[in-house]
Amino acid sequence: MNTKLLGALAAAALLSACASEDTSGAATGAGATGGTGMMGAGAVRPGSQEDLVANVGDRVFFALDSSSVGADQRPTLERQASWLAQYPQVQVAVEGHADERGTREYNLALGQRRANAARDVLVASGVSSARLSTISYGKDRPAALGSSEDAWAQNRRAVTVVR
């Protein structure tokens, strides 16, 4: 999948994710990397999940059947690594997910591989692996609930979650 298309899908993910959450403020500062705005700016506690979502971007997206972190997605993880360096007490879980167009067992393994791929970028960017865990939910916890290419693009993801 070319990066231009992936960028467009990620942008669609941003818009759609915001539309489907009951938040009034749009996500800010996350560029085209996705993320859902959970709280308005200003109410965000530094080092929290809300901070990560609003100011860094909590997720990266994957191409169909792929578990490699694309060049356009890498900056999000690098920003996450910088952010984690700011808050050395924070531990995170990287959650890997797949879209609904696969079988459950394979998608569990695929989600795990995506979570590992994102974790590896974080480690390569200087985050101690002791602060990182991974878990896969396969296709069983979609972020977007529809059955469209847009929804699937949003669901092929690895989400960094503060523990």
Binding site: A19, T103, E105, Y106, L108, R113, I135, D140, G146
Partner: protein, 455 residues
């Protein structure tokens, strides 16, 4: 819960039924040529269900008659749902059930087109019940089977299933699959926050109950060959791992503290080990875990995601799903991990292979062209047939006689909030006909068919 194989406390053959031929042992030895040893022919099945008459089992009191009627109804539904029998419409019956239970007037059953006739009696005896039935071949006027069961009265459903299996086997020459259960994942709530609980029911959808409370997500349950234990995947403590569930005690335990996520468990045919996939590092590989020692042994290594292993019924081989060649395909290997060869070569991606208990077929999910299908192929990959296709379906599991598959179907969400999505269990004959939805109280996925409970 009852231990299924202890349930039927007494079973006796009925001798000399109504003065006709018919010790069941004798009948077993010399069944009429028309039906004896008839191997189920998948071409024949679609066009030629056996017409069978099932007058209500007689009883000497209103309670007994009600019991008899209930039992007859369960048997009738089982046989009809198999697609291999056609129950003759009750309105056509000439002889009364009471009279037929005494001595069938075969002419009355012949003229309404019945090839087989089932008569019986039900007698409650306190909290127990005595149920007897006879299976007759109408044309030859011969009793093919006559058996009486004495059991706890509240187990009348299981008696009805056992009788259904006897009728199926005597008429078709193969074991039935009615005295079985299905364990599955009961799903409820919005798609992004679903509750997923293990549930179990009789194969006809009755006696549904939940096994886990939904605190943790449970997936992919599979029966032990003794039908009393289930292997499944649980997110207990946010660590997705393979667990064992004991149906007698209700206890759950983790299979072992293995590294990483463990998933897609299945028991070996001898019940002594569990084969599963373990995701460590970037790959997922097939391991086998010995149940006594809980030691694991790695069977595949390197390059790709290997999931969904399933043993051949003789335990000598394992079929599994892997993307080692670039996309999901089906591979077979020796049980020790050697001799890996790819067997799926059709269009699309292949997944969730499961070996038939008869050994002759492997069922699978195929994905391609925006559709999912359930199919079967021979273990060498030849003879592929797609049985059903649709938006989304997967996870086939064989009935213990290898004749029917259960799987789950999903419908496409029609809006961005997931409206219109559903997940339901289905059954289909391996000849590709008689697909039916299985009614469950909630959405349902990941069905696994038990072995026969009281054989």
């Amino acid at each position: 819960m009852n231990q299924p194989n202890l349930l039927l406390s007494r079973r006796v053959a009925l001798l000399g039924g109504a003065g006709l031929l018919g010790a069941s042992s004798l009948a077993r030895a010399q069944a009429p040529a028309a039906t004896a040893g008839q191997v189920i022919d998948i071409n024949r099945a679609r066009t030629d269900p056996i017409p069978i008459a099932l007058p209500n089992f007689a009883g000497s009191s209103p309670d007994a008659q009600r019991l008899g009627q209930n039992i007859t109804q369960v048997i009738t539904n089982n046989l009809r749902n198999s697609g291999l029998f056609r129950p003759v419409a009750r309105e056509a019956y000439i002889q009364t059930p009471e009279a037929a239970a005494g001595a069938p007037r075969f002419q009355d059953w012949r003229v309404i087109g019945a090839q087989a006739l089932v008569t019986g009696r039900a007698e409650p005896q306190g909290d127990r019940a005595r149920i007897e039935f006879r299976l007759w071949e109408v044309n030859s006027e011969q009793q093919l089977q006559g058996t009486a069961y004495t059991a706890a009265a509240n187990n009348w459903r299981q008696i009805a299933h056992v009788i259904s299996d006897v009728i199926y086997e005597r008429m078709l020459g193969e074991k039935g699959y009615f005295d079985t259960r299905i364990v599955y994942v009961a799903e409820s709530g919005p798609r992004d926050r679903r509750t997923r609980r293990l549930a179990i029911m009789d194969q006809d959808g009755e006696n549904n109950r939940f096994l886990t409370d939904g605190t943790f997500q449970a997936l992919t349950p599979r029966f032990h060959p003794n039908a009393r234990q289930i292997a499944f995947m649980s997110y207990n403590n946010n660590q997705p791992r393979v667990y064992l569930f004991d149906l007698n005690s209700g206890r759950q335990e983790v299979l072992g503290n293995f590294q990483g996520m463990t998933l897609s468990p299945r028991f070996s045919p001898d019940g002594r080990s569990v084969v599963l996939s373990s995701a460590r590092g970037g790959d997922a590989n097939i391991f086998v875990v010995d149940l006594a020692s809980r030691r694991e042994r790695q069977l595949t290594s390197g390059g790709g995601l290997d999931v969904s292993p399933s043993y051949s019924p003789d335990g000598s081989q394992i079929v599994f799903n892997s993307d080692r060649g670039g996309d999901q395909q089906i591979y077979v290997m020796d049980a020790n991990g050697g001799g890996v060869r790819r067997i799926s070569f059709g269009n699309g991606r292949y997944a969730t292979p499961v070996w038939s208990p008869r050994g002759d077929l492997i069922a699978f999910t195929r994905m391609g062209g925006g559709r999912f299908g359930i199919g079967v192929m021979r273990p060498d990959g030849s003879g592929e047939r797609i049985l059903s296709e649709g938006w989304s379906m997967e996870g086939p599991s064989f009935a213990p006689n290898g004749r029917v598959l259960t799987f789950y179907r999903e419908t496409r969400a029609r809006d961005s909030r997931g409206g219109g999505y559903s997940a339901r269990l289905a059954m289909i004959d391996i000849a590709g006909f008689n697909e039916r939805q299985v009614i469950t109280p909630t959405d349902a996925t990941d069905p696994s068919w038990s072995p026969l409970l009281s054989s």
